[in-house]
Symmetry: C2
Subunit: 337 residues, 2 copies
């Protein structure tokens, strides 16, 4: 952090007076430039018609900057992805900062600019916001909340809609975000190119919607990883899910870290990886559509939905044995997102 108070966020930047006005205009309005935001009313005035998705997420990731992203990119991608998973076009985001006194203005600028470039990937706009500054020691750097609304393009996609016989597709190799944060946290350098998967998923989802793929369920595998999503699905739809271990795409660096720490890649968080359940006969077409995107080139069909073992997720090993994948317990990595 800079020692020059002019280059640091001050308590007065959150006070509702002159300094806050200056910060908002010079930094936020400039980066997020749009008419709704700059109207400066108490709330943004939108025009929405019909089924609309609404979601929220607070981001507390540590470290704030990591290989492949930072808290700002994550805060946009995370909320945009929650909308995308409801087949909703990401349209309007709110953005609320809790900043620790003394936080470097340059870092804030970098974070806000990352948010602006990530917004461009889906076309969503930040239309309202809030800034709070808390005294030194009352927060750890910066926390960001984003909430989002967007028009639902296709209804009926739901965790409760999964059918026996459905195929399960994962959009890329799993566990990258969790492994990247772990590496950063432990100060590991490894001779590796490991980066977080942190990304906006809307372009891939839009391809699936445009091709009228009859997706039954769709969810991004964030905290709790693939294991949490599949367990939720098995429960909510009262079905069994079988996963072929040999089909799970996992990068070598992630495998290595998992061996070192005794983790399973399917328990690790992702921030740009989604899972879909859909009728088997549409699986190849969906796979091709996902693989056509750079972020989806490692996508794979990893399992299927069964009538047996309902409520359970079963992992079949390449040696013919099988075991349950449980909902993760305890806390692998605090402040992963």
């Amino acid at each position: 952090m800079s020692n020059n108070p002019k280059k640091q966020v001050q308590l007065s930047h959150g006070g509702g007076g002159k300094e806050m006005n200056a910060l908002i205009h010079k930094l936020f309005f400039k980066a997020f430039d749009n008419e709704i935001l700059s109207s400066e009313e108490d709330a943004a005035a939108l025009n929405l018609n019909g089924p609309t998705a609404f979601t929220t997420d607070s981001f507390t990731v540590a470290p704030l900057f990591f290989s492949g992203g930072n808290i700002g990119k994550l805060a946009v991608a995370g909320t945009v992805n929650d909308l995308a998973m409801m087949a909703a076009k990401p349209e309007y985001l709110s953005c609320s900062f809790i900043i620790e006194e003394g936080f470097a203005i340059d870092d804030l600028k970098t974070i806000v600019e990352s948010m602006a470039s990530e917004l461009a990937k889906s076309g969503a706009k930040v239309v309202c916001g809030d800034t709070k500054v808390v005294p030194r020691g009352c927060a750890d750097g910066i926390f960001i909340n984003t909430s989002g609304v967007g028009e639902i393009q296709k209804q009926g996609i739901s965790v409760k809609n999964i059918q026996p016989g459905d195929a399960i597709i994962v959009s890329r190799d799993i566990g990258r975000h969790g492994a990247t944060i772990l590496m950063a946290r432990e100060g590991l350098t490894l001779d590796s190119e490991l980066t977080s998967d942190c990304a906006t998923l809307w372009p891939m989802v839009e391809s699936l919607l445009n091709a009228d793929i009859p997706v039954h369920a769709m969810r991004d595998a964030t905290r709790g990883g693939l294991a949490a999503v599949l367990n939720e699905w098995a429960n909510a739809s009262d079905v069994g899910i079988t996963v072929q271990e040999s089909q799970l795409p996992i990068a070598d660096e992630v495998k290595g870290l998992c061996e070192l720490y005794g983790f399973e890649a399917f328990d690790l968080a992702n921030e740009g990886t989604f899972i879909i359940a859909l009728p088997k006969e549409h699986a190849e077409q969906a796979l091709n559509l996902i693989q056509a995107h750079e972020d989806g080139k490692n996508a794979a069909i990893v399992g299927e939905v069964t009538e047996a073992h309902n409520g359970k997720v079963i992992l079949k090993t390449p040696w013919g044995s099988s075991r349950y994948i449980d909902l993760p317990q305890g806390e692998l990595l605090p402040r992963i997102c």
Copy 2:
């Protein structure tokens, strides 16, 4: 805080696994009980038609519990009021918690239950949420973000819509929230009944809308107080605003604290006090409608909008002198909301 770990929030409560599921179901779903929330999709599915207001606020108030409210009541009233100020009926809220490891579950329960009772005052529902837990020392107890959406009942109310000749009404005595927090922060007891004005403003706003009062601008005077709102208005509408000091309703306890600390009541934050600008001929009717509500019984016409002195707010003293009220500078009280 309790020393029994079972009675404290643990890092695992934010991990996306079993413990988080239990917390969400036993505490949040129970208090905020509604079908949209309990559908547990990635985002809430709403049906919105036409002009919709969207707003966000993060709450970091210290202390968390204060005379007349707590951070939970504040988090609901704050966002509901931002919607109300756009003449939007508060309908759907998101709710996102950042909780410090070790936070007492009993306190969390009290906060969440306060949120539920405050929601009942406008009929708004919490339809989506998020929970993050950060390690001890990384946050100060709990921070809450709420975002909200609601249908705009009447368009055209805007900071840019104020006309010379308009009357300015304030809905109750000013400065109570700021004074209450100051008193708590300084450990003052005074022999006083001073409580925060923290409250949901929708019932009063609804009365004005139902009576078709032609409100030009409406805003709640939170951080920066009456001074910040009037300065914003004078700027945005390019008008002058004259306030009669003798007409400003201020409780004796607030006056006393202001004298003691050298503050001005019009710079202090409010959390259940709003200001309207409207054609003079409708001012008496509006005043009567506001005064019919318990929270509005001290409402008063405090000033008028002028063509002269545009961009400026002028305070006329009872002795005939006058001075400018500026946009507050610096930080009077950090973590006021």
